[in-house]
Symmetry: C2
Amino acid sequence: MATLQDIGVAAGINIIYAFACFIIFALIRLQPFNDRVYFPKWYLKGLRSSPAGSGALTKFVNLDIWSYITFLNWMPDALRMPEPALIEHAGLDSAIYLRIYLLGLKIFVPIALFAFAILVPVNWTNNTLEQSKLTFSDIDKISISNIPEGSPRFWTHIVMAYAFTFWTCYSLHKEYELVATMRLHFLATEERRPDQFTVLVRNVPPDPDESVSELVEHFFLVNHPDSYLTHQVVFNGNKLSALVKKKEKAQNWLDYNQLRYSRNQSKRPTTKTGFLGLWGDRLDSIDYYTSEVDKLSKEIEAEKQKMTKNPKYIMPAAFVSFKSRRAAAVCAQTQQTRNPTLWLSEWAPEPRDVYWNNLAIPFVSLTIRRLIIGVAFFFLTFFFMIPIAIVQSLANIEGIEKAVPFLKPLIEKPAVKSLIQGFLPGIALKIFLIVLPTILMFMSKFEGFYSLSSLEKRCASRYYIFKFVNLFLGSIIAGTAFQQLDTFIHKSANQIPETIGVSIPMKATFFITYIMVDGWAGVAGEILRLKPLIMYHLKNFFLVKTEKDREEAMDPGSIGFDTGEPQIQFYFLLGLVYAVITPFLLPFIIVFFALAYVVFRHQIINVYNQEYESAASFWPDVHGRIIVALIVSQLLLMGLLSTKKAAQSTPLLIALPVLTICFKKFCKNRFEPAFKKFPLQEAMMKDTLERIREPNLILKGYLENAYTHPVFKDEEEEDESYIVDEEWKPENLVPTKRHSRRSTPLTSNYSSLGLSSRSLLEVTD
Amino acid sequence: MATLQDIGVAAGINIIYAFACFIIFALIRLQPFNDRVYFPKWYLKGLRSSPAGSGALTKFVNLDIWSYITFLNWMPDALRMPEPALIEHAGLDSAIYLRIYLLGLKIFVPIALFAFAILVPVNWTNNTLEQSKLTFSDIDKISISNIPEGSPRFWTHIVMAYAFTFWTCYSLHKEYELVATMRLHFLATEERRPDQFTVLVRNVPPDPDESVSELVEHFFLVNHPDSYLTHQVVFNGNKLSALVKKKEKAQNWLDYNQLRYSRNQSKRPTTKTGFLGLWGDRLDSIDYYTSEVDKLSKEIEAEKQKMTKNPKYIMPAAFVSFKSRRAAAVCAQTQQTRNPTLWLSEWAPEPRDVYWNNLAIPFVSLTIRRLIIGVAFFFLTFFFMIPIAIVQSLANIEGIEKAVPFLKPLIEKPAVKSLIQGFLPGIALKIFLIVLPTILMFMSKFEGFYSLSSLEKRCASRYYIFKFVNLFLGSIIAGTAFQQLDTFIHKSANQIPETIGVSIPMKATFFITYIMVDGWAGVAGEILRLKPLIMYHLKNFFLVKTEKDREEAMDPGSIGFDTGEPQIQFYFLLGLVYAVITPFLLPFIIVFFALAYVVFRHQIINVYNQEYESAASFWPDVHGRIIVALIVSQLLLMGLLSTKKAAQSTPLLIALPVLTICFKKFCKNRFEPAFKKFPLQEAMMKDTLERIREPNLILKGYLENAYTHPVFKDEEEEDESYIVDEEWKPENLVPTKRHSRRSTPLTSNYSSLGLSSRSLLEVTD
């Protein structure tokens, strides 16, 4: 067990690392040539087109010394922007995401104060550990381990468990209420958006006499006669998007070769046509890629022609738009026909949020896909160690020598050999953990969700489960998840919390170190944005010809809800579990929340560019997971106390999870509908207001092409994006302050931006 | 363990008992003076007004010998009515209820055939039991107990478990599909009903400036401007109904005394005013009750005045009616305002189905009530033995002697004493079991459901849980439910199915006897209707003066979903659990299902009068509980086989519950919406059809008073029931064959019929 001093050293190292990150960040972010890496949000919003304050500085290097001295100034800057402005600047999703960190502070600061004021003295003034002759550290002395068995002092812990539960629920309730209000306010005040009028209708039944489009029109003209406006059928554009992607890639290679040639005109670049450019005929690169691009352009054109003519490309789904928000709200919330699996209507995600590939999945296969992924995720969580162990056993020195014999002399050198031997066993696991979010995202995509927000939500919940099983339980009970599973099946319901509960206090130091390495250092590293920094400069050097190219080379990224939120949740879990048992852990969590809050606030203001806006639809998930963490902490405390012979505690503590579950149910009834349904009253109010403000609005023109597949849209935008835009937003009629839609275009994953950066990754990898 | 012979004897006794019941039934049902007890349904429908075939018979005794010889003729008669006619005659609820028995036959007849063809020979051709030197019976020889440990023969059982699961799921799926279609067809073809146009709106927020009625009107005029028609606010009529009930009781006593006086005019009857008529002043009964009735009439009048004037009597709830079914469907399925706990809209139950008392419960208290009842039901299920044990320990001979010393000489007689001593310990439990459904109904009422159908559904599910824990588990594992709970908490997840699984084969004979006593004999007893028979004749003798009184004295009863359905479910559970383990039990269950089907079909055709029509809304519950029984059977088989050292079975069997759960999810998605929502297309079709058929229909007049509190309605009906009725149903415009509404009046629990019979119960008890 680590002593207080060990932890002090670890804390020191991590603090120094974090400060180093901040200093490096201060140094490189102030250099004008990095400006687009550290302030892309402002470029995208059109509020910045060249490095700020360029007067006293040269073009590439910042020589203003004062700006180096005040290198931590970004922190107060990040905190200065008030929340309403932040919502306007970065959207509600980002603002609410930050509130999760704030919620962590709100919950844990009072809990930590109470715990240190009451629990620490109660624990400290015993000498159980001293009498026990076990090795122990100061941390154990102020933890629950120092209380003798059956001591009446456990009453303090029970009372504190109640107090902490009450406080957590109170904070959660207040926060849920606030977030729901903010969401409704946001929805009520936001400008006109196509998804407010549109419903996604899936599983249109086949009809031998009518096309899908005719069928949809007739159905809605009959069943929503007064309110139906227009509809757009969904095309299966997967092949087309693949072609577009391929073309983008060829285009990138062409750009790269042209740039190379323009820099060194003595020799025209050549390329091999075979696999990875390793063999095949050697051709002139520029000619080759020009012809490739031309060929693909023609193919794309042909495919587009086919799509519009061949009914096979039309999916049995459509985006149906209504004349009013109320009518759309009605259609989205009601069942259309007898058969509840036909004519399924639900709110359309906003156009940017649509994940187009999955709209082409036939509805019948969804149940099977869900089952397959459910089973696959179960095996992934509990048996992921098996393939990794196999890889580890294969990937030894001998294996490598066999596979690539020409490396043998190099590997045989003692220094290299020991490095590989020390490094190899862990590498498979490390690689797995790095690609895990990608695997989870692939699983969610396979499952058939058709909006990016729901994909990310599902990933987040799966990632959290994985972390809970393999990191939390896996650290507390040694052994793989499968062994745990086996143990749990063979243990009784009351033994499981006991087994875990007993190990909890012993693992406090491990988790403290984990918080510092993963939390503190990770957050500090986040601000450096090393990967985008490198990528941007590579692109800038190899591909960028025009200012537009440079804009596309920026990779602002986004919050990354699918990986970020489970991390926060894990700290909530640790905090709640250790609040009563080892309160010494709490300050470390508080530091994490505070630091992360500042860093992410800075990033959201200056860097991240959200792909979509779901108006905080993730909050019920966040809330639910904190509640689950709370219940886990209560059960573990119960298990721990029952081994401490504090028998009177069980009946008292069993009320806690029951009450917590009731609280969850209450919150679900009270607040969740705000995230799932759209009240008619609100819709009616907005409709009425709009009718008064803009009596001559022609909604049909606005909605007609709102849900065009992005492969069609890209071209349109190139041709007449601004005209379309002007037409769509009569901003002179409804003056609003938000202009972000223009700068963050209505494109999805397949937008030219997303595509070029992705294909570039493949080029440079 | 009982041998085959023992079971044969028990079966013989029960068969004789059943036949005796049928013969007695044949004898007494043919007597004209019992006609109203055994054919009340026909009287209520107005299709019978005097005993049938009265030509050759005297008025009281049937002398036609042929009718005695063909005493079992009611069975084919009951089966003869085709299902559509049955639906028309008795409603969809009753017809679907019968289908549960049919479903039992459909599932278990093929399973039994297969089991006897395959499993019995496989089990029989071993001699494990003979070698084991244990006492065993022939039943054990054909059960799974006769297979040696680790035998490859267990493969047969595993394959059969798959086959039975597949067959059960197939039957369930077919049945669910059919029931859903029947429900939708029923809803589509049924005549105009107020609940099709009406939505119940609860938790109308208070407003200082407007009354609830004004508030509702304004809200719906604004938010459903084109479709809002009218509304009726809900009054708190609980005090008034109590008064009406009291008046009915006094009226009954008055009738009774007047009748007594008219028969024996020599002496005017007198009564004492005190508690139970045991003390107090002795008064002239007729005068006393006349004045009582007058006084109560005045009080009722005053209360009615108060209700209409005092806003405190108006609950924040209203029945809101719309101009079309579509509009009502829209309102019922959508959220009205931001705050999801205000302006809650849901389908109104049909007027007969409303449980008025609970409409007066403030919405805020519902969550708390639900929590209280949840905890109470938990304690009721697991700890009900404690109070009974206390009563048992008190209710001994000495206790009785102390309480009522004057009985001492009687009790001290040896015969009486031994009778009491043998009888007393069981009596508290018996009484508890008899009143259990009443306790459960009280719990559901306290919980705040406001329709009789949902009350019965909730009772049924609770009663089933109680039976499952205390009868099924309680019989298999000896000991009280609390001891079981304690065992389960201290056992591991894999041990629980093992513990139960091992005991299962041993308990087969017990359950066979149970099926015969509770199932066979119980169903045969049901047809005799002993209690209504006695009650009717008592009423007929003491109260009936006019033909109308006689009509009110009939107590047709209803199916009793809350107690009947859990019984069927229990047999499903037994059948599915024992199908693989002891197939010998199956024929007994099949006999039960067949017998019950015939008996209940007869009762539904001739006797029962459903209080409400919910269009089979209970089916998802029925389906769900059969699925749960299936999963329980799979888990127990898994537990049993794992103790039989058939280790290879566990991974194979674990797939079964997973697949079954998937099947349940699939069914939920596919069929359940048909029971919860009302598709817009259907509503639109009915609306359009109606508009064409009856262009001049004035819907407002039809709906205006549809949801008047029954205490107001009773009077109206007395005064002008037929006029109102004619006005409501322009039957000359839509000719339908169903006339049942007139004869089964639109009254709820508080109808004069219900009241008088209930108050009479109190009089005669």
